[in-house]
Subunit: 304 residues, 4 copies
């Protein structure tokens, strides 16, 4: 498969979608990003890397970080984790607080904000220096020590964190947050503010296409079974209230972020990261989803 | 892969789960089924068939029929269908009427009852003799002309159809049902009352593992792309409010019914049907899910 | 108190509100009513009657009929009634089906549609000829045998009854409807289609201002305690999701209908009916609420 | 009317209800109150005071304080207040966060916690020393300068304030909290911790039965119209999700608190305070509601 020409063609086809979405506007640091950027990086399991467009521009990975913290916690806690957070799609756009109330403070899955806050809370209980641990872990997966916290983004997130503070206090009222709420939200704001580029992200997702092994170090991060299971959560819950649509159109496990990034993978074959800052109404990258749909059509392959 | 010994072992391992669930009790015809039955049939893409247990006992396929009617309608209506019914997981156990109200009569997906009623309604608009058409279609997929409507089940369903009548009238009040409500519910009660056995069902799901082609006749029923997309809906929405958990534990696209049947498939490889009447709290077969989890673990393969 | 001049002044003050609402448009029979009409009738406990404007024009009382059927059922069933229907405000505009689902088919109160259908269902169980009984009862309260069912309105309601059919089937699935759903909805459509005028309505509400006694006949319809209690339900639930606002602005127990009528009363003092067809977003008469607010301000009296 | 003998009889009749509820247990300071206490104080508009039982024992007024802060804010802000908080009953026990989410951070009414936090927030904007202002205001209404903040209760509330912090942060995320969340919740915890006795409370509610005038000082606190309107909110929203039932059974505007107190009044006639610590499932005093139902029956008077 000539991946380079596939993604090069897709890059040209998808550029016309610029202007159809808008960048995240809830914090200035994200709103001010140049919207007309697009990068596509593909990392195949034979070690090759293909890239086109703005693949060396760092961006804020935002919710994609939820996958990394989930891995960090799941490998330590095992199945006991699933008593504190579910693994079902959340189902409706109003879910966050509503569902928490009906379901006694147990978030539906680790990729909605409430669930990610529980994961970060448990990570804080596990790691004495949680922020450092997260950064080190992501650097290790991506094989790049230059990955960093964008502190201006983190600060901006923290100043606009009322909704996340509400979620964390609410869950704490149900006994489902162990640590201090301010600390949990602070760490969470930092993980969302991780800056890295498309190629870093495709590399970091190799651990999934390699069924749990970090190919750079040979270290087994997750068992094959754990990898499959986290993949299943990505496939059913990775794209907010557009997860079903993403499965329908693209058919890969993956995760998006409001910074415009999307990371996905084909088990045993390849990982792929796409970045373009303009979002659709669900908070997913317009050009990113278009590119991924064309990619699985172009290589005639999906998990389905 | 020695599928026969894999499923024979699973059959023995799963039998001890008898007694942990209970048969559907909302209609007498289902409540009176002998609960201690278990059948597993596997149909591989090379044409082989493996079976163990009660695989020649007919049962009521119930919601599994929703897959067949979806195929019948989707191949005719194409993308326009998705204006009337979504393809997102429904998210919570109270969803049916609640979500319909919030979302103006558009059901979340074709596998919740509301969505299936819309599909059946459109099928009635497409086929002059809808019941006959459904039966003929399922017989053709399964390669078995003995498949039938269990009229006592259908009648019993019809007598206990208040919830479905409520759903259909509610959607009609939003303009999302085209035909007479009584007719829609009558056809729906019949499709749920289709009687067939595990082996029939594994055979009928070959169309999915064969990426849209009926291997018995060579007829293309769906395009490869349509097949992938219907598979994605099964993977995200096929198991009521346990869909995420099924993806997590089993990792195959599939569909369950309250008759105790589950049909699933591995794209390009095989289809599998499991039947055991006792259900868990979500309405899915206890032994069926256990068997499928062991199957994907046993053959070390899932879509993830 | 010179009631005649009070309501004459209010009539002039409120006429400028014409044009700020719109007539109910879900059935042609209501949509076609001349919107620029306004009638105000006051019946004081000393037997006097004051009227201004279009008080002799018959209109469709719609939901105001729910008060009359409640009285008919409550006097027979006593407290056992409150196991099947609550007496709490419903709280949100989406409540009907949502709350029924969360609360197992028990409607919040007898003045939301679901609750009124339960009341009508019980009335059918109590009276062999329910439609005739309702008409006779209302005629007796109002002291006017010319009150009638507007059959064209009833037919039109019946043809647009999908939402009410959904509610009734849904409650029947919870076991909270005793009779045939079609029959219940048919009777309900007739009670809503009662045609009477403002003066009839003010007269019919004398039973409440007279604390349970029909002053025309001297017959005790309700005990004083039952009267207080039904008044309490009117005060907290009588105006859909605007009940709190009506209490805040007007401060009288009462009931509105989408035909544009409102009936209310001051215990021990007077009853009042106002009619003007244009409705606000909550389904209450714009001019009617304005008139009643001015009335309680003008006579410097409310229940608060 | 011989109020003294009425309440003396009620006191004896209601004591047998001890043991049917339980004291609030979410903070130790409330859980440890001796449950078997009951006080009833009646203050008539001619200046008389009647008392029976434990009417000189101080208790924590909790949510009854919401009435006092509402008065403090409403008299300054007028109708503009109702853009930030509604005046409709909240409708369901899960309402707090659910409804806030559906209704964009505007609480349903000032007596649910969310609404009371908005009121306290505005009070902080209006008064430089909000805690002192609240205490001074309540002392002035009750004519008793010994009324105090129970600091151990306030501290205990503050330590268990996660739910209220969640509400306040959530509303702040919608822009409906002006001040620092911690400050708002701190003041709120103090107002709930006001310690006063039944007689103080009956005296403090004289301002309502006197239609807005503080009879001790002659000062007009609210206009007659404002008084009626705040009374309407008490009547429709004063008893959490039991407000309709309270109107049905008792028929007086009033407000309850989880400390076991209830204050109510009959416009132009009297105010009444009842206190007994054991609560029913809705958080209202079991003996308190029984006593008030018997009181309005005994004196044959309610607002309805």
């Amino acid at each position: 498969m000539d991946y380079q020409s596939v993604i090069a063609r897709i890059y040209e086809e998808v550029k016309p979608y610029w202007g159809q979405g808008k960048t995240a506007d809830y914090i200035p640091a994200l709103a001010s990003v140049d919207p007309r950027q697009l990068g596509i990086s593909v990392a195949t399991n034979d070690g090759a890397l293909y890239a086109v467009g703005d693949t060396d521009v760092d961006f804020s990975i935002q919710s994609i970080s939820k996958v990394f913290t989930l891995v960090m916690v799941a490998r330590h806690l095992g199945d006991s984790l699933w008593k504190s957070v579910g693994r079902e799609p959340s189902g409706n756009p109003f879910n966050s607080l509503v569902q928490l109330e009906y379901e006694n403070g147990i978030p539906r899955n680790p990729f909605i904000n409430a669930g990610a806050l529980v994961i970060t809370d448990r990570l804080i209980s596990l790691y004495p220096k949680p922020k450092e641990a997260i950064l080190e872990f992501v650097r290790g997966l991506a094989g790049n020590d230059d990955i960093y916290f964008d502190h201006s983004v983190a600060r901006s997130e923290r100043e606009n964190a009322d909704r996340n503070l509400a979620l964390a206090h609410f869950m704490k009222s149900f006994g489902n947050i162990e640590n201090d709420v301010e600390t949990v939200v602070d760490v969470y704001c930092h993980q969302c503010a991780i800056g890295m580029n498309c190629t870093d992200l495709a590399n970091a997702f190799r651990v999934f296409s390699h069924r749990g092994v970090n190919p750079f170090t040979g270290e087994r991060i997750l068992t094959a079974s754990q990898t499959k299971r986290i993949g299943a959560i990505m496939a059913t819950c990775g794209f907010y209230d557009e997860s079903g649509d993403f499965a329908f159109r693209v058919g890969l496990p993956g995760k998006s972020g409001v910074g415009g990034g999307i990371a996905a993978y084909m088990p045993g074959k390849l990982s792929i990261a796409v970045w373009s800052p303009e979002l659709n109404a669900y908070g997913n990258s317009v050009a990113g989803i278009e590119a991924l749909e064309r990619f699985t059509t172009g290589i005639n392959s999906s998990i389905f």
